[in-house]
Amino acid sequence: MQFLPGSLVLASIIATSTILAGASAATAQPTKAASGPVVPGFARFHADGKADLATGGRLLFGELHCARCHTDATSAKDIKSAPILDGIGSRVKHGYLEKFITDPHGAKSGTKMPNLLAGLDDAERKATATALTHFLASTGTPSQARPDRKGIAEGRDLYSKVGCVACHGTRDTKGDADKLFPTNVPLGDLKEKYSLVSLRSFLENPHDTRPSGRMPGLLTIKESNDVANYLLQGSVPGLSATNMKYSYYEGAFKNVPDFAKLKPVSMGETTDFDISVAKRGSDWAIKFDGYLKIEKDGKYTFSTTSDDGSILSIDGKVVVNNDGVHPPATKNGGVKLTKGMHKLTVGFFNGGGGVELKAEIEGGGLAKQNLGPFVYVTEKTEVPVATGDKKDAPFTVDAALAAKGKTLFGTIGCANCHQMGKEKMQLETLALDQLKGDGDGGCLSAKPKKGVPSFGFAANQVAALKAALAKPFPNPKDETPASLVKQRMTALNCYACHERDKVGGPEDDLNKFFLTVQPEMGDEGRLPPSLNGVGAKLNHAYLKKVVEQGSHDRPYMHTRMPKFANHAQSLVEAYMAIDTPEKAPKVALSETITKTKFAARHMVGPTAFGCTKCHTFAGQKAEGVQGIDLAILTQRLQHDWFYNYMLNPTKYRPGTRMPASFPDGKTLLTKVLDGKADTQIEAIWVYLADGKAATPPTGLDKKSIPLVPVAEAIIYRNFIKGVGNVNYSRAIGVGFPERAHYVFDANDITLAMIWQGAFMDAKRHWTDRGVGFEPPLGENIVQLPTGVSFYVLGSNDEAWTAKPAKDIGYKFLGYRLTDDSRPTFNYSFNGIKIEDTPNAVESKGSPTIVRTFTLSTENPIDKLYYRAAVGNKIEADAKAGWYRVNDMRIRIEAEGQPIIRQSGKGMELLVPIRFKGNTAKLVQEYAW
């Protein structure tokens, strides 16, 4: 079988040419949609004319609500409904309403809404559209909300990852349409259509106004807000992006001051506790004031993380007291709040040093998250659509026009498809069995008569509809589960994401937008699962729940299963009816339930089958990939499917990375239970059936591995985190019994960081794959200057080099160890061999590091310097040989007299190297 199917190539060529043909037609007739109304299932499976024409026609007939007008005794019940228009005025801007009614295909190419005014002359069309607009707009005015800048980025991320793209194509950084593939449902100009509030509400629960269920729900409340902010960015004029007031004060504060007694240096509005309004580095304070919007009564926990102190108050009461001078510290406080707006104040001050402020909220159904987006400048959070843009200007409903529109709504046919109050359908039409499909001036003709809806059909759609009408529609009662599965998956566009029976799955164009957080899981981690045999795999209740409520049980996959509410119920039942599981044998347990579970717990754990190596267990992380959680396994799967899957994973999930734990159907654990695969699989099922209540397998809770030097030094070569953004990928960590330790960086070829107390925790690197940089376990961490330690300076004011050691001829040669494993590092530079022995030494108070150098060379050179320290401030100490560098004291023992010099904004301590014969000696002590 050849890999690239010719039919696919052909299909895409045909699809492309259809578009091109459509495009040229569109130029001549701007109101006509390029490809006709977009029905994804038709565009994908019927556009090439190869599939059964009548099936495609019946699909269109259903998806375009044809049966709302052309009723038929058998099909009337399960008819797709067009959007509910009750309260439409509070959801869609009036400008868009008018534009859309006047020319649906022009306003939104590919829309399924027919043009009901196509046959009217311009004046009549305008008058009709205006009247209808007044009628619809009389139901309300869209509210507007403050744009959430942070939401834009998150919304963009969500749109691109969770599944929106599969049905609606890609959108650019501004939220506008980017690539729209032939099977994608166009969104039209969202910025013209929606306000932030109305789009957010729609995304929260699309089924409220779209009862057909074609648009499934996918987003939480917060995510709906983010996506709405992304899609509508820049379209909310006249509204400030700020959400709180600030007052800025200066003074040498040791605590959050009593602001009432102070006069602010400046005041204004800002966003999300932004402390960059401060005008200097230290000795200042800010008070943030705003209103906190609480959606639900409940107990909330607030926290601040600040350096230095902060106090968070709600309704005048202190909730979080994180006051005082301190490095970054987090404090929490709880409070019961009722739904509504609450006065919020956060006071913060910075004495000196580091500066940081973060405020968070948790509770009332909210996961811990930034507090900023919940805060508003005033008590009023939502304001009517602002002025500034004519489209958004407040709309005055003319009662007479609205009344006229109300009449038209019924007579021209709007009410045939749309629910709107009690409006009744009044447009009379032919019944289904009277339709011939070839009537001149009918829906299918190129130019429908006055009063007949114009759908702007493409030629292939007309052909398909005609074919469908040429014979009687099948009675739904005669539908088999297999044909129902296909029909529903096509209509609901399940095929955009899922394959079943070799049909569907992500299209080539869209495949790359299905992403994973774990690329090494391959397609399995990226693409929604095949639905082959899904009715035999998943439990009925679970499958129903997933379809109705959506799910995200595969945390590694960005795409989520959206919720279809009750719209896919028949599909679930059909799956259950046709997918029959292979039977598993009845297995009797060989031991008591308690012993069986105990054995299974062992089997699932890392020292047996190692399921928890790749699967989370009740939320506890796995070592490598984070596969689907084991604690929900028995909720999800059917027992018999699980049995068969365990014996042969790739048979049921082709290409899975899940290794077969029972090669040739035999267990490798011959001593567990009765040593039989059947019993062991059954035992695992019984154990996992306890779900989250099951005692987790051992080894999940990774313990610290502190490295404690006792009698000798410990060397730890690994990825070690430095201070700030500095990391050492070629670190040689050395820990000493004296409890002073260091990192020697083999890239910079110098001592890089020193600290005291505990040495290192090896857990990060030694309990799983070893991802990331681990900081020292101890305290008083001091980062030493980055870059090489020895360099030749032409003159006293030549800057120290910033070049990497390797690039200026340094060579790291390795190290030798004393009997108690203390290293001496060897490296060379400029023909000089350098021996560098940093060693921990007991000292009064705290241990010091004493670094002894021996340099040897055949050709001693002048102007070689050692850079002993870099700091904001360096000065000689009263005690001879000692210097103060920031908070550290340094002792230098050398032939040459050390030089303190300015370097950029800071200072450097340089030691000229004086050779005696072929060698030079140098000692530096770090006391801190």
């Binding site: 690329p519 397609d523 693409l527 190596k613 082709p654 734990s661 654990l669 410990i714 990391n727 160890l817």
Partner: protein, 504 residues
């Protein structure tokens, strides 16, 4: 669509393999396999000292029957008395610590140093004071770089006959090349020079030599690797993943000239090999899930019969399945290709290094940390010893212009061996693509036109209706019996037919 078709192929494959198993079952009254792998190759587990965590990273043989065991935690342990019948005699002593994820050890008898490949360099170490612990650590080369990504592993070989150590460098995150020479292989010459030789490496699992001292490494399923494979490393070659092409401009690699053409995605290895002269097609593809899922250490049996009848064949570990696979290679059209066979399963955990001891026993080091494996032990040091009994096995599957020749370890029963119904042949290959992995695709089911059993009953010539260039030819021989009437211990072989031999 692509995905669908592939699924279909796989589903079909399962249906087919299922029916062959059924056919097997139906033949009642036939002798069952009387013996297990254990009858022929005994597995010993060496007792790692209580409280120590020795996750297998590298193995090397030292003088006097001592074994050096390098670990992922950066230690090197010396094992004494490891070659006796009772593994309890083994004595473990820590020789060094504080190195970074050791994945290569090479002992140089000329200078007495132990050369250690760790993430960032090759360092040679020595016990200069005779205290049983290394006290000198000398950097031999640090010609490549690490950026702190855990996937940037460095695997090192032992010495080849010219005194080179061969290094394979995993890509950053196993996808990109963000540090110098990531996604390359190269050699460290006897004078300590780093010479990058070959681009195209993705995520290696081991590096070793065949009987002719040619260097091979294993690479793992992922982008540009439809499944795991054994690949031949040559100077100037390209082995599949174009991620590291930028380093052709780096000083050490300039001698190789311009980078090869970038392969086209969603192609086939042999299609691209014809287009890209530097591309060395994967010598052995290990069918994913069938032969393993993470190919690792490579060793060649040069024991002159001490390890049984497979002299000069390669033995390759698998980290997921905790197995040792067997490989036979031949040169066709100037390139290595050949077949792989199941050999021994049941190790305590995922295998990374493998090394033959002078007595012909095979040592393997195990680890399951971060990548789950069969066996259930977190780490292990194990030894596989031939019992002296010869298993009835397909000794070698060799390509012919119109089919294959199978040789066996024991004389066959000419009746069953000459019966078309005793065999089942199918072929398939993998998509060569930038996406992760591949399903089995392009399946064919050639028919067997003719079978000729050699007069000595030690080999069988199979002529097929059609050979497929670039495909794995999966040959099962469930019906073949030995002269004594026993079944094959493993009745399947997978030949990677990159090139079809020309008719002479």
């Amino acid at each position: 669509m692509r995905y669908l078709l592939s699924l279909a192929v796989i589903v079909a494959a399962f249906l087919m393999s299922g029916s062959s198993a059924d056919a097997q079952k139906k033949k009642a009254g036939e002798p069952k396999p009387t013996e297990s792998e254990d009858t022929y190759y005994k597995l010993q587990t060496l007792p790692i000292p209580e409280g120590e965590v020795l996750e297998g990273g590298a193995l090397e043989m030292l003088p006097d029957g001592k074994i050096a065991f390098g670990t992922r935690r950066g230690e090197i342990w010396i094992v004494e008395n490891g070659l006796t019948d009772d593994p309890k005699n083994a004595k473990f002593t820590r020789f060094a610590h504080g190195m970074h994820e050791i994945l290569g050890l090479a002992y140089n008898p000329k200078d007495g140093w132990l050369y250690v490949t760790q993430r960032c360099d090759v360092t040679r170490i020595k016990d200069s004071k005779g205290k049983g612990r290394a006290d000198i650590f000398e950097v031999v080369t640090d010609g490549w770089e690490v950026n702190g990504d855990y996937h940037e592993y460095a695997f090192g070989s032992r010495f080849d006959k010219q005194g080179n150590i061969w290094i394979t460098l995993c890509l950053t995150g196993s996808f990109n090349s963000n540090s110098k020479y990531r996604g390359w292989a190269g050699k460290v010459t006897p004078d300590g020079k780093w010479v990058p030789t070959t681009s195209g490496v993705r995520s290696p699992g081991g590096v070793g030599f065949n009987a002719d001292d040619e260097v091979f490494y294993t690479d793992n399923q992922g982008p540009w690797n439809g499944t795991c494979g054994l690949k031949h490393l040559t100077v100037g070659g390209f082995v599949g993943h174009p991620g590291g092409f930028k380093w052709y401009d780096a000083p050490e690699a300039k001698y190789l000239g311009a980078a090869p053409l970038v392969p086209k995605t969603k192609s086939r290895i042999m299609t691209e090999a014809k287009r890209i002269p530097q591309f060395t097609p994967t010598a052995i593809l290990f069918p994913y899930g069938k032969m393993g899922q993470s190919a690792a250490g490579i060793e060649c049996d040069l024991s002159a019969g001490k390890f049984g009848p497979f002299e000069k064949q390669l033995f390759v570990g698998d980290q997921t399945h905790s197995t040792i696979m067997r490989v036979s290679l031949e040169k066709v059209n100037g390139r290595y290709q050949g077949a792989c066979y199941p050999f021994r399963q049941g190790f305590s955990c995922g295998i990374v290094p493998a090394r033959f001891a002078p007595d012909g026993s095979l040592f393997v080091g195990g680890t399951s940390r971060g990548w789950g494996s069969r066996g259930g032990k977190p780490f292990a040091l194990e030894r596989l010893v031939w019992t002296g009994k010869v298993p009835f096995e397909i000794h070698e599957m060799k390509a012919e212009p119109d089919g294959f020749t199978l040789t066996f370890t024991k004389p066959v029963d000419p009746k069953t061996a000459g019966d078309v119904a005793s065999y089942k042949v199918e072929t398939y290959t993998y998509i060569y693509q930038a996406d992760y992995g591949s399903p089995e695709v392009d399946r064919t089911m050639p028919s067997i036109d003719k079978i000729t059993v050699a007069p000595d009953n030690k080999s069988v010539r199979i002529q097929l209706s059609k050979l497929e260039e670039g495909h794995i030819h999966q040959l099962a021989a469930p019906g073949v019996r030995s002269e004594e009437g026993s079944q094959l211990l493993h009745n399947i072989a997978y030949y990677t037919l990159n090139y079809i031999p020309e008719r002479k």
